[in-house]
Assembly symmetry: C2
Homo-oligomer: 242 residues x 2
């Protein structure tokens, strides 16, 4: 019986993977993943076998992993960012629970909240929330409740999946909800294509964010009540000096 490693590869560039993730992928018999992510790393694992499929193929990917492991193979299931945060660790464990398979090891990686923060400065230096605006698996009412709770708690917030072709207005709707409780001049920012070619950042206010064009490749950051803009950086001071 083989083992399944579920690995977060970070934002995209092979160097943003942990050393451990790279070593494990080097040892795997087969690498499984969504094809947009396998393409990011394929050149570094040229002698490997790959199994890849498209968006919404998560269940097929997990079932394939269990099938391959039961054939005795060592499987590396990759996700962008972290393995856990909106990643494949949870769906794999759903399938594994149903199939009675348990030899799984999770290898964490740098999620976009961290890699995007690093590009912007240090917006998430203190307590923060991560909220996805995708309502494919989470009802929109729950997302709204979480946005309001994040504002009530004065959390800095990292927003994943701010909008997509199917839901172009989600970020705007989220900003409107946040502005019921937060000032329009609250410092915010976003990063596109973190750690990939075309990486770009912008710092703006919450009121301005409403009008920004975003997509699935953008991570948005909402400051807390202490967040400042210093030069081209978004920083939440922890209170040592400022």
């Amino acid at each position: 019986m083989g083992r399944i490693y579920v690995l977060g590869i970070g934002p995209g560039d092979i160097d943003m993977m942990t050393i451990r993730a790279k070593k494990i992928l080097d040892e795997c018999d087969i690498i499984v993943g969504y094809k947009a992510y396998t393409e990011l790393i394929r050149d570094h694992f040229r002698d490997k076998e790959f199994f890849e499929n498209g968006m919404r193929g998560e269940m097929d990917r997990c079932e394939k992993c269990v099938e391959l492991a039961r054939e005795g193979r060592t499987v590396g299931l990759i996700c962008s960012g972290d393995a856990g945060v909106y990643g494949m660790a949870s769906p794999l464990m759903e399938v594994a629970e149903r199939e009675g398979f348990s030899d799984i090891e999770v290898i964490p990686g740098v999620t976009a909240a961290l890699s995007g923060s690093a590009v912007l400065g240090a917006p998430l230096s203190n307590d923060f929330c991560v909220i996805s605006l995708s309502d494919l698996l989470t009802p929109w009412e729950v997302i709204e409740k979480r946005l309001r709770a994040a504002a009530d708690g004065d959390f800095a917030v990292a927003i994943y999946n701010p909008s997509s072709k199917g839901r172009p207005q989600h970020l705007k709707r989220a900003c409107d909800i946040l502005m019921e409780k937060l000032p329009g001049d609250r410092p915010c920012g976003y990063v596109r294509n973190i750690g990939r070619s075309g990486c770009a950042k912008k710092i703006c206010t919450l009121a301005e964010l409403v009008h920004e064009e975003t997509d699935m490749f953008v991570t948005v950051f909402i400051g807390n009540s202490r967040t400042k803009v210093w030069g081209d950086r978004l920083v939440t001071p922890r209170g040592y000096i400022l």
Copy 2:
């Protein structure tokens, strides 16, 4: 004029650093950090110069980095976990803002919310909060407000610094606050010494967590309303099957 890299080295084991962090430290003239963290990596950088100091020496460390960079040196300021999340990126930027120094690059790393989740299973697969129970820089009333907001928003929660010698009751107080809104049988877990020798995990309920002994080397996880215990794993299903 030199540059300051502020790098998250992950939970402790050198292999949990990103490849990029390792490459940058290899190129730095001097590595600066809290001595408990420099000790974790010193053997891998034997020919390097180190500047290290003790707990609460954050400001001295940041000032030293700016001074060294102004002498033309390339400086690697390390933190455990991520560079941003309760890390040195923010205090360094406070000092740099005051000193008019700006050549800083932030290299993210795997924070304990991610590395601890990987040990437990996949508790943070959906929207989550990260809250520190240290009231050194954040008033306890703000921490209480955030705990209540996290419960209201049905967030999974990663709790950092659950207790210490100076505040042995903080985790108990936090659990009591959460139990005003959450059921006592809510699945929870914690991990001690993530990625280091002596790494250990425990899964328990929120009511049981009140009685657990924790310290600064423990990260605690509170499930959301969907979180399950499957075998020895804590998993928040995203809703594909279960």
